[in-house]
Symmetry: C2
Subunit: 212 residues, 2 copies
């Protein structure tokens, strides 16, 4: 089972690593990172420097396509080479997946026209602009397309997909292996559960405050 | 706020990326990846190739030290240069953290002698052998040492630490930003909640089965 994960400068790394940490544990799975250029790229915020394994032209098919999000997805929404690649890999994939604003790229490639879809809570309007019908679900499965909401939702998305692709026993074993028994210290994972000050911080205030 | 994250070949990448995706969003935070050599290294299972920012000798202090785990932590437990570095950075750190089997390295460096500590559920005996007192908690805070249990527990650990280091409003805003509102599709995140077959798969069966 060949898993192709699109990577790019200013990717939100957890969008990719959450699902890949799950999917790479499906017996027989192999992950390849695919990018426009075979050069070191840098993740958003965390600043990890990653080396892709393949350029787009050299990886034209995959059993599972993973499209993560992050600030760096924006320029790709108008990049014909990337949009063509997404359409092409999707054509023969068994599963096409996205996390966070990765679904904007699926939508920009025309794969979500009129379909229920999800993305980061702060990007619903963008998703709608590309013709999808955003729904407030953490994981959306529509045919062979499996989408996770913002960032950390990629773990839930991938466990759902692992179950579909390899059976529930394997999915449960992977969940146990990565000890995914979440206990968030706060109940602040959705915009309707925080006050206005926290919402503003999350919308951009964290980036503009230089110290707290 | 300077965050140093130790990285090494065969790291479990989510151990590092979970906490770093949280901690890097604390206003003013900057993350550096520190390794024995400034060469591309490869993560376990997921196979991401990473380039460290610094070698040990060039990063001798940090406000927050993050020590992730993974199969590649094992050879480091007997590596004097790495153990010395951990002790040295810990000496002046504000916070010293671990995820998963990263706590074995803290213990091997002598930082957990007689202290309550946590690690991956499958590594409790190893942690005890190094003189710590393993407790079944997802996050353990002992003075300035903050530890997460297996792999995905690093997210809960880091949100706890973000609250301690930058206040609850910032921690809640980060939780919202990464949309950490977990909804695992199964209840299989702890060994006492799965049957023997799933437990055996999680203990190593996933690695030995070549296809399902």
């Amino acid at each position: 089972m060949n898993i192709a994960c699109l990577v790019f400068d200013q990717i939100t790394l957890l969008d990719a690593v959450g699902p890949v940490e799950v999917l790479s544990r499906i017996p027989g799975a192999k992950v390849e990172l695919v990018a426009k250029k075979k050069e070191l790229l840098q993740s958003s915020k965390s600043g990890f420097r990653l080396m892709p394994d393949y350029v787009l032209e050299d990886m034209r098919a995959a059993d599972i396509l993973v499209v993560p999000g992050g600030p760096g997805v924006r320029p790709l929404l108008k990049d014909p080479a990337v949009l063509d690649w997404v359409r092409r890999v999707h054509q023969s994939s068994q599963w096409t997946t996205s996390v966070c604003t990765g679904s904007l790229l699926l939508a920009a490639a025309g794969l979500l026209q009129g379909l229920p879809a999800t993305t980061h809570w702060n990007a619903f309007a963008d998703l709608e602009r590309y013709g999808a019908k955003p729904v407030r679900e953490r994981v959306v499965v529509k045919g062979k397309i499996v989408m996770g909401a913002g960032v950390s939702a990629g773990i839930d998305m991938a466990l759902t997909l692992a179950s579909l692709a390899a059976g529930e026993a394997v999915a449960r074993a992977i969940q146990l292996r990565i000890e995914y028994d979440p206990k968030p210290p706060f109940d602040a994972g959705a915009p309707d559960r925080v006050d206005d000050m926290v919402l503003e911080l999350a919308r951009g205030g964290l980036d503009s405050v230089s110290a707290v």
